[in-house]
Symmetry: C2
Subunit: 233 residues, 2 copies
């Protein structure tokens, strides 16, 4: 008797996972055929198939049409990062959120972004500096460039009610984006905005998103002292 529900594919996955983790099935080893596993668990073959597909998608097993299924030798260690809207991130911590637009103007795309945007934008872009607060304390300082070709309505918005971060998610959805994470030393501006002391190490993120070939926005977020980005594997 087992405590695991082997009628559901998640139950089967659980059992298979345990065999892989406990080295009952060694890395590189061929595991039993789908039909044999279905017989062992007394379940439908499609249930075993669903579980194996999931393990294959996580990189834990390698399936080959004729050669069968093997335990992966070097399973990749993958973590999923959820990139929430900042308001939602703050509120999920049980804190109150507000933001303040510090600067808003139209300007030519700065040269440092020519490479990132990978297109020559003839028109001006909208530049915004926004400070995000958590319980009235600075949470993150945001500098953003918005391509008005991709989000023409942004030209007439002050972004006082809804942050550009949130507005763009809803009004200029992207197909893909690049993210990078790094550390910066607080300069004088950042010290004032984020209640940091000069030189303090701050966690930073840069993100650029596209709708197909068209860049939508480039954003650089610098978080207040002590920020940690957390995830699970």
């Amino acid at each position: 008797m087992t405590l695991t529900d082997t009628n559901s594919w998640t139950g089967i996955r659980e059992v298979l996972l345990r065999r892989i983790h406990n080295r009952i099935w060694q890395p590189g080893e061929l595991i039993p055929h789908e039909a044999d596993l279905a017989e062992e668990f007394g379940c439908a073959r499609t249930t075993v198939n669903r579980a194996l597909r999931d393990l294959a998608e996580s990189g834990l097993v390698i399936r080959k049409r004729r050669a069968g299924t093997r335990v992966a030798i070097n399973p990749p260690q993958r973590a999923t990062l959820t990139i929430p809207i900042i308001r939602e991130e703050v509120e999920s911590l049980g804190r109150s959120y507000r933001h303040s637009v510090l600067e808003r103007n139209l300007r030519a795309l700065p040269p440092m972004l020519h490479g990132a945007f990978q297109v020559s934008l003839s028109e001006d872009v909208l530049f915004l500096k926004t400070l995000h607060f958590s319980d009235e304390r600075p949470y993150a300082f945001e500098e953003r460039h918005i391509n008005l070709d991709a989000a023409p309505d942004a030209r007439d918005l002050a972004f006082n009610e809804i942050s550009a971060n949130e507005w763009l998610v809803h009004n200029a959805p992207y197909t893909h984006g690049d993210l990078s994470f790094f550390a910066v030393n607080a300069d004088e501006t950042l010290c004032r905005k984020l209640d940091a002391t000069t030189g303090m190490a701050l966690f930073a993120m840069e993100r650029i998103t596209w709708a197909g070939e068209m860049p939508i926005t480039h954003v650089r977020l610098i978080f207040a002292p002590g920020y940690r980005m957390r995830t699970e594997i």
Copy 2:
């Protein structure tokens, strides 16, 4: 005529994605039935089903058994982080890798890890300081505690040939782990190890992994100046 291959599920997914991104199907809107889509694309219903399942797994559509499929209102922005073995990360950049064990000893679990390990470990843990190099330049400085109950063979290993990072992935596979990313100022030790100047902001990662209920290892990695962790959404 379309350039997209609507005989493959990835081709169908491409078309459906475009409809969602171009707001042909609005957030919250019910999309056509699987059978109708199969007819439209002239493909098997299972092909449409596979595409929809993939979109559902990415959080872009919500499927309910009787109620049909709706476009998600707030699609989560998820990024997948691959956490490679450091040797593989360096080599994938076309650089040569080596590591050097700077310190290795048995010690009681330090109090700062009691919370993270969430168990009272009666035995000593193995403590290691390792410096990772990329093309002979410092790449990352690692401090690691290994639970010898979870990886008893580690007691007799010097980790000069293979780093503890790589050895553990192969010999003490984990079921899950917690990761966090943050910024630290270089202190004197880090300056010497990582060719940094005092106070420089450095990117850092902490990771703890478990096999079921048993903690395997806690590691803190601090990367050399200029390091960026990159990913895509």
